[in-house]
Symmetry: C2
Subunit: 348 residues, 2 copies
């Protein structure tokens, strides 16, 4: 099993996703600041993995707080939550995890005056967030797997696999693993996903490790392979899903959705309900992160573009709900109209 992020006695242990697949290296992060920095620099990425990592970072920070009263710890903890919340703006799982940790703090505070007890509860909550994510993706994979016919070739964009979650199944790749574990033969086409190359570096690596057949293409080949009839379904993950089903996900997802529609290929989004943000009525309101132009103009130290030109580096885009055939969650499969079906998922 791929271990994306783990709680240990020494700190939070993460596989460094910036250097996969050429190096399989694990970092031990020994403070909440190091965890926040790892999220910002994309040592760890993927909405559920960011949520789990943030929770573990907060538990680690709380554990290390030197306050002797719960009020001191609370002061420190609030600051840590602020720092953690500023790492990346788009994935809502980050804010969901921070909120869940804040809730755990509030509950603990109401029940005990022991700083040690509060700290233990925060560590337990972070571990529960980890375990819940694994379970959620197993469920999601089972529900989603039913939608994928035996013998299908599934195109996916970015990495929504074990590496994008606490580990194990993943979301979009969880659907593929769910289908495989139900006895179906599934092949995958992976978009390389510029500029960070989550597809070539992470998805291809994960699937190869798991012996699921994978073919790598550049992002701009997706239309051509669909036109050739090589794609039976598209499954992607999500960073934030608005109440109406509009879905923010890795840049290029919208393009894949438009191409899928053009070729009458079902386009599925797979995400745990922690990715739903029902406070936003549409995807227009989702903040889209823009990252350093250097990610586009350079490959490590090798320069790919002339100096001094303008560059745009949007990390995400929004796919409107009308392009989405179904949203696969750990509570079941939501269909149009999403405003109703997603609310039922959360309430159910």
């Amino acid at each position: 099993m791929i271990k994306t992020v783990e709680w240990t006695d020494e700190g939070v242990r993460m596989i460094d996703q910036r250097i996969l697949p050429m190096e399989e290296k694990y970092l031990m992060l020994r403070s909440y600041e190091e965890v926040a920095d790892a999220i910002k620099k994309m040592v760890v990425r993927g909405a559920p993995a960011i949520g789990v990592s943030a929770a573990m970072g907060l538990a680690l920070g709380a554990k290390q707080s030197v306050g002797t009263a719960v009020a001191d710890l609370e002061y420190d903890f609030d600051h840590m939550c602020d720092v953690m919340g500023k790492t990346r703006p788009t994935a809502v799982n980050l804010f969901w995890a921070i909120e869940r940790m804040r809730d755990a703090f509030r509950r603990a505070k109401a029940e005990t005056a022991s700083v040690e007890e509060v700290k233990e509860r925060l560590v337990a909550e972070a571990q529960a967030i980890f375990t819940d994510d694994i379970k959620a993706n197993r469920n999601l994979g089972r529900f989603g797997g039913e939608l994928i016919p035996d013998g299908s070739t599934v195109l996916t964009h970015c990495n929504a696999g074990a590496l994008a979650t606490a580990g194990d199944y993943g979301t979009a790749l969880g659907v593929i693993r769910g289908a495989r574990d139900a006895g179906k033969r599934i092949a995958v086409i992976a978009d390389e996903t510029r500029p960070f190359l989550q597809g070539s570096r992470l998805t291809a690596w994960e699937l190869a490790k798991d012996e699921i057949p994978v073919t790598l293409i550049t992002d701009n080949m997706a239309g051509h392979v669909m036109k050739q009839g090589k794609v039976d379904a598209v499954v992607v993950g999500a960073d934030r899903i608005a109440a109406n089903g509009d879905t923010a996900n890795k840049i290029g997802t919208y393009m894949v959705a438009v191409l899928a529609k053009q070729h009458d290929i079902p386009f599925y989004v797979a995400a745990p309900i922690s990715t739903l943000d029902l406070t936003l009525s549409t995807g227009e309101e989702i903040p889209i992160e823009e990252r350093d132009p250097r990610e586009v103009t350079h490959m490590r130290d090798y320069q790919l573009a002339p100096d001094g030109i303008e560059v745009q580096n949007f990390a995400f885009d929004v796919t409107p709900n009308e392009l989405i055939a179904a949203i696969i969650t750990d509570k079941g499969v939501a269909r149009q109209p999403y405003t109703e079906s997603l609310r039922r998922m959360v309430e159910g």
Copy 2:
């Protein structure tokens, strides 16, 4: 003026497009084999530039032939034409240029028994192909420039600029230069164009040199910037255009065309009539080159994907005519139905 390829007394001089923009280096190719190899390895690329280079390579080969009779020269020349024709399969300008050189040979042979005279005529023909390409793109740029309103932002894919032609204007970028030279303010969004990065390496370099504002994006951002209303028109080049207007061009062009349709943005193809292949009734018949997977899995020596996975590396795709608002040629602007309008262009 950018000099993509030039005839010199020493041989064929080319800018090495594999290492632009970090190094501006010129290669002197001293045999037809070296020219063929440069085409195959993409030292020079772009349909019209391949045509001009092939013609110059054949002229160089003929010049160096040691045959003392025209029949000896013809034997050598036929072999050179075969070698040159096997370099790259998709761009029809290659075969068009070879055919034009063969015609020149036939005409010369009918009129003279002097080997030297035939060689001189072949050199003159290659130089005429060069000059005609520059002139064609100036005309194409003027016609196309009229279609682009003042203040437009034009998205382009790959490089269909000076570097894709004999030099000077280019085709798609010829349209942009034509608009600019008609006094219009035009900005360009350039797709980086994986895997060879003609957009970031070549288009951005050319336009920056020419002081035309350019913004670089990854290929998978094209949908997002269109959705944001930032794109007024798309202009791309072509490698081969079938009788019905179906257009083979750099991989990803089809994707851009589908996205343009989704956003009601006019999608234009710009190419000299040497890119028309009226012997093919539809684009289905155009051979699509597949290149070395290493172009996708590696960036120079830096590995981007795990070992042992499947990779597809289609160099081109075909955009169906119904997605094309107009085909801009050196003889004028062709509109639907293309089967009639393109035939008129060639006959006119």
